[in-house]
């Protein structure tokens, strides 16, 4: 802070001391120090005179005439009113309640959003390399149909061999299929697939490197 009467360190100290000296709350030493300074510094003397005028002006009684007895009578009447609260509190009641309701609503919404995000995080739509592979049904087979094979032909193969696609196609066009006929063994299905026209690759999932 730069003191307005900053003609030197003494002026700064004088500026600090003025209110407390004027209010008789400064220690005697500070009082004497200020008086000594004022006798030699015209600028601070003028400031001190103005501070004194300010103190006198502020100390004047209020110019707003209010009758203490009238006010007191109203206060006592108010105390007699059962459970009366300050008027402003009553007027603000509906607003406060609306605010509380809005905050509660927000809290519920945030809670619901949090639960949803948490559940989504618990079952992410991706798998890291360190995670174990998703479980595959027993007897599943990876099948790569020829790229030229028509959808109708592929459907016919699946229907004839009682197969159901449970995964794929992946990046290399491989499907994962399982047999829907409990009577057929995986080896038998594998042989049939390998012997089917248009099937380029068929290997059991467990045997896939």
């Amino acid at each position: 802070m730069t003191f307005p009467t900053d003609n030197g360190r003494d002026c700064s100290r004088a500026w600090e001391a003025m209110p407390w000296v004027l209010l008789d709350s400064a220690p005697q030493e500070q009082n004497e120090e200020l008086m000594a300074h004022l006798s030699t510094c015209e600028s601070c003397r003028a400031e001190f005179a103005q501070q004194d005028r300010l103190r006198r002006a502020v100390s004047l009684p209020s110019d707003i005439p209010l009758d203490a007895n009238v006010g007191l009578k109203r206060l006592l009447a108010r105390l007699d009113a059962p459970q009366e609260e300050p008027v402003r509190a009553r007027q603000g009641g509906w607003f406060t309640r609306a605010l509380v309701a809005a905050v509660l609503l927000q809290a519920v919404g945030l809670g619901a959003l949090g639960i949803r995000l948490w559940s989504e995080e618990a079952n992410p739509a991706y798998r890291t390399l360190s995670q174990t592979a998703a479980p595959v049904a027993a007897g599943a087979i990876h099948v790569v149909p020829d790229t030229n094979m028509k959808v109708a032909d592929w459907d016919a193969v699946l229907r004839n061999l009682h197969l159901q696609v449970v995964g794929g196609p992946n990046d290399v066009g491989a499907y994962t299929v399982v047999a829907t006929d409990p009577a057929s063994t995986p080896e038998q299905t594998l042989r049939q697939l390998r012997g089917t026209h248009g099937i380029r690759f068929a290997e059991p999932v467990a045997g896939t490197p």
Partner: protein, 194 residues
């Protein structure tokens, strides 16, 4: 605190103690004792007499309700001024500052005993305080008018002492810059009045 302040505080504490036991006479004594200074203090926040009276009554309504919880951590006057300050700020938020133009005040609202010198001084101060923020006006009133220490003012305004120091400093600087000019203005106005 000097002896007179200690005595006044001891009396106030006794009154509060009686108030906590439901003594309305004690409330009346305390109310009358603080009415003048609260009225002047609150007039630094608003010029509306109705709001000032409402705030004083809110303040004493709270003091009446909470008198039993006063633990004496501060002077009673600091406690009451703090309540009044917070009630005053609430009232300002509700009513706005809505200052009443001094010129619109009916003549009979200016105290009849007000000598010319006081009126000049009052005008000079009013014009100076108009240049300050509400917080700066409050600090000037509490320090120069009521005589509170910086620590007391910090308790009343619920802010650090450093903040009070800064507000007082800036208020003084502003007043120092404007008051000399206003003194000339007020004198001229006074001289021009027949």
């Amino acid at each position: 605190m000097n002896d007179a302040e200690n005595d006044a505080d001891a009396t106030d504490r006794l009154l509060l103690q009686r108030m906590s036991a439901g003594d309305r006479v004690a409330l009346s004594v305390l109310y009358r004792s603080y009415h003048g200074r609260l009225c002047r203090f609150l007039s630094r926040l608003t010029r509306r007499a109705d709001i000032i009276e409402e705030v004083i009554n809110d303040c004493f309504w709270i003091a009446w309700q909470k008198s039993a919880t006063f633990h004496g951590d501060s002077r009673v006057s600091t406690w009451i001024m703090g309540i009044a300050y917070r009630c005053g700020l609430k009232a300002l938020r509700q009513h706005g500052s809505e200052p009443v133009d001094e010129d619109s005040l009916p003549e009979d609202r200016i105290p009849s005993h007000d000598p010319d010198d006081d009126r000049v001084l009052r005008d000079w101060l009013g014009k100076g305080l108009d240049r300050l923020s509400v917080d700066q006006r409050v600090v000037i009133e509490l320090v120069y008018g009521v005589g509170h220490s910086l620590d007391d003012v910090a308790v009343i305004m619920q802010c650090p002492v450093g903040t009070v120091k800064a507000r007082l400093f800036h208020a003084r600087v502003k007043l120092r810059n404007v008051l000399p000019g206003l003194a000339g203005e007020v004198s001229t106005t006074k001289e021009s009045v027949p």
